[in-house]
């Protein structure tokens, strides 16, 4: 789906990137098409090797696309060198200049832009305050902790007030607690500066909690773009449904399609009404997904979507996972929050599985 050209901060148009030739040929990106809106926290999510870093490097200018355009507010920048793009990067290993102090690192960009000394100095102080590092201005970068280096890298990239900030897995080197802290910090910084953030991660939870919108990538292709809700509740491809959260896949036969919903007879017996991805008309065999928390295990009454036998119960403290073998033979997982008074079923019990309205989705593939 294309936005109006003027409303996109970054418009990636049919971008492909091919490395090597002959037998070594690798297509790192295949006709990628993304619109990133101004002031948005946009995340590229995908497993290792799917092309996230490659795409970021093309936007930063460290490499050039094989084909396609990259527009920054309408202007094609795909062939500009990095120092001519008003885009800054937070590197995964921070890449702080070891021979400069924290303050000199933060001021580097403004200095290179030829800003007056007084302005640079004032801005460095503002940035230090923004990332809460005032006391460490004159330290060498080797004399501060990993979390602090992370903040300096952020301050350095934000100081020249870029139009877009790129972050390549900036939190992956931090321990769990610090990572949670920096996630909030990043959200705060994005909010306070109003700069468009393009954030790369392979951690789906991080992507879901932080992003305004997410692009899910696999093998150089962008499979789906949408808000965390859209991606999670309405996955359009098997890969997306599988990669983000846990889900149940059920095979079935499309009986009828009515606009955005289809009625599908599942192998398990029941016929469900399932949502359909935009612009897709399913027919014949189709796969339907239902998230485990959008279903409920109840005493069998015959009115439920499925009936089956509990094959395993796993207790997780806050919730319980029921694995139900449906009468059609498929495994179905249900996640239920542990609240007082909830009925408990044991392994071997006959149960019914009720599915929330609108929970089932037809996949595109």
């Amino acid at each position: 789906m294309r936005d109006e050209p003027d409303t996109s901060a970054i418009a990636i148009r049919q971008v492909s990137k091919v490395f090597g030739t002959g037998e070594d040929r690798v297509t790192a990106l295949a006709e990628v098409e993304i619109d990133i809106r101004a002031n948005e926290f946009f995340t590229l999510l995908g497993p290792s090797g799917c092309g996230k870093t490659t795409l970021l490097r093309l936007i930063a200018g460290f490499d050039y696309p094989t084909t396609g355009e990259i527009r920054l507010y309408g202007e094609d920048i795909a062939r500009l060198p990095p120092y001519k793009r008003p885009i800054n990067t937070v590197f995964q290993n921070y890449a702080l200049f070891p021979h400069m102090t924290v303050g000199q690192n933060i001021g580097f960009g403004l200095e290179m832009l030829g800003r007056p000394k007084a302005e640079t100095a004032a801005r460095v102080d503002t940035m230090l305050k923004l990332v809460r590092m005032e006391e460490l201005k004159n330290r060498k970068t080797s004399q501060i902790s990993g979390g602090q280096q992370q903040r300096v890298a952020l301050a350095r990239a934000l100081a020249p007030q870029p139009k877009v900030l790129l972050l390549d897995e900036p939190l992956s080197a931090l321990d769990y607690k610090l990572r949670k802290e920096m996630q909030l910090e990043l959200k705060r910084l994005q909010h306070e500066t109003g700069i468009t953030f393009i954030f790369v991660t392979h951690d789906q939870e991080e992507a879901l909690t932080m992003s305004d919108r997410i692009a899910v990538m696999s093998k150089g292709h962008v499979l789906q773009i949408g808000s965390a809700h859209e991606i999670y509740d309405k996955p359009s491809e098997r890969f997306v449904a599988n990669f983000i959260g846990e889900t149940n896949f059920l095979e079935g036969e499309v009986l009828a399609v009515d606009g955005a919903s289809a009625s599908v007879r599942l192998g398990a017996g029941a016929t469900v009404s399932a949502g359909v991805p935009d612009g897709f008309a399913p027919k014949g065999r189709a796969t339907v997904v239902i998230r485990p928390e959008h279903a409920e295990v109840v005493a069998p009454s015959g009115a439920e979507a499925f009936a089956g036998t509990v094959s395993n119960v796993v207790y997780f403290g806050t919730d319980t996972h029921y694995y139900v073998t449906l009468d059609g033979g498929e495994e179905f997982m249900v996640r239920r929050q542990n609240s007082r008074g909830a009925q408990v079923f044991d392994t071997g019990a006959r149960v019914g599985v009720r599915v929330d309205d609108g929970a089932a989705r037809v996949l595109r593939d």
Partner: protein
């Protein structure tokens, strides 16, 4: 309980101590003896008579020593500067470019002189300058020595500089470019400062190599172009006095000081 230790700790191998001590002895005992006898008050190198700085006084007062020391310094310092600058440019040109076909060849061409026997280089250089003098009538005097030294010092200066460039984190230069530094500014503000320790090591190595070169200098040097190693060589063909020991010790000290200074500066830059 059994003592745990690294499975192959060489220090624990039988005979290690003996071999190590023997090697150290062979390496350093002659130098030590040479230095001790430089303080001999008598005039025979191998016969100790008492402690004195007499021979240092004689050496320093000697005009031939002065002019040899002056020649050596002029040649070594010029050769160091020329070879280090060249080596730095070569190293950057070979590590900061897209790989091209001739890269391996270029690398070999730069490093080959290290493998060519020095006497071969010396004779080739001599023939070359003789040819230039004969055919073109050009004789640069001490300039010949400076050119010869500058050239054979290049691979020595090149090695540590290249090693440092290869170790350097390339994302630092990318970060500079990302922060609006043009290629020149990125080099000037990031690459070069981080390269300084490598350049200093290269300079120190080039200086030492030029400073104590004998073979090439011996063949290429014209009259009046005696350097310190040549001067010492000429002295030992006469009846030897501890003056030679004193001069050798001075040479050794200069070497040690140059290496120590470059080491200390390099360490401070880290």
């Amino acid at each position: 309980m059994a003592k745990t230790r690294a499975p192959l700790d060489t220090k624990e191998q039988p005979g290690f101590r003996g071999v190590a001590l023997f090697c150290l002895f062979v390496l350093y005992a002659p130098i030590l003896i040479l230095m001790i006898f430089s303080f001999n008050s008598g005039s025979i190198v191998t016969h100790w008579e008492g402690v004195s700085l007499h021979w240092y006084g004689t050496a320093i007062a000697n005009d031939d020593f002065h002019s040899a020391a002056k020649n050596t310094m002029i040649i070594a310092i010029t050769a160091t500067i020329v070879s280090t600058v060249t080596a730095t440019l070569a190293a950057i040109g070979m590590t900061r470019v897209k790989p091209w076909k001739g890269l391996m060849t270029a690398f070999m061409v730069i490093n080959l002189p290290l493998m060519v026997p020095e006497i071969v280089t010396a004779i080739a250089t001599l023939s070359f300058f003789a040819l230039v003098a004969g055919k073109l009538g050009i004789n640069l005097g001490i300039g010949n020595l400076i050119i010869a030294h500058s050239v054979f010092c290049i691979p020595f200066a090149y090695m540590p500089i290249r090693a440092r460039l290869e170790d350097m984190d390339l994302t630092l230069e990318q970060a500079a470019a990302d922060l609006y530094a043009t290629p020149w500014h990125a080099f000037r503000r990031v690459t070069l400062p981080l390269l300084v320790p490598g350049i200093l090591s290269g300079m120190a190595l080039a200086f030492i190599v030029s400073f104590d070169d004998f073979t090439i200098t011996q063949l290429v040097a014209g009259p009046g172009q005696t350097t310190l190693p040549l001067y010492i060589w000429n002295q030992i063909r006469r009846p030897m006095t501890p003056e030679i020991n004193a001069i050798s010790t001075i040479l050794l000290m200069v070497s040690i000081i140059v290496v120590a200074i470059s080491f200390l500066i390099a360490r401070k830059r880290r």
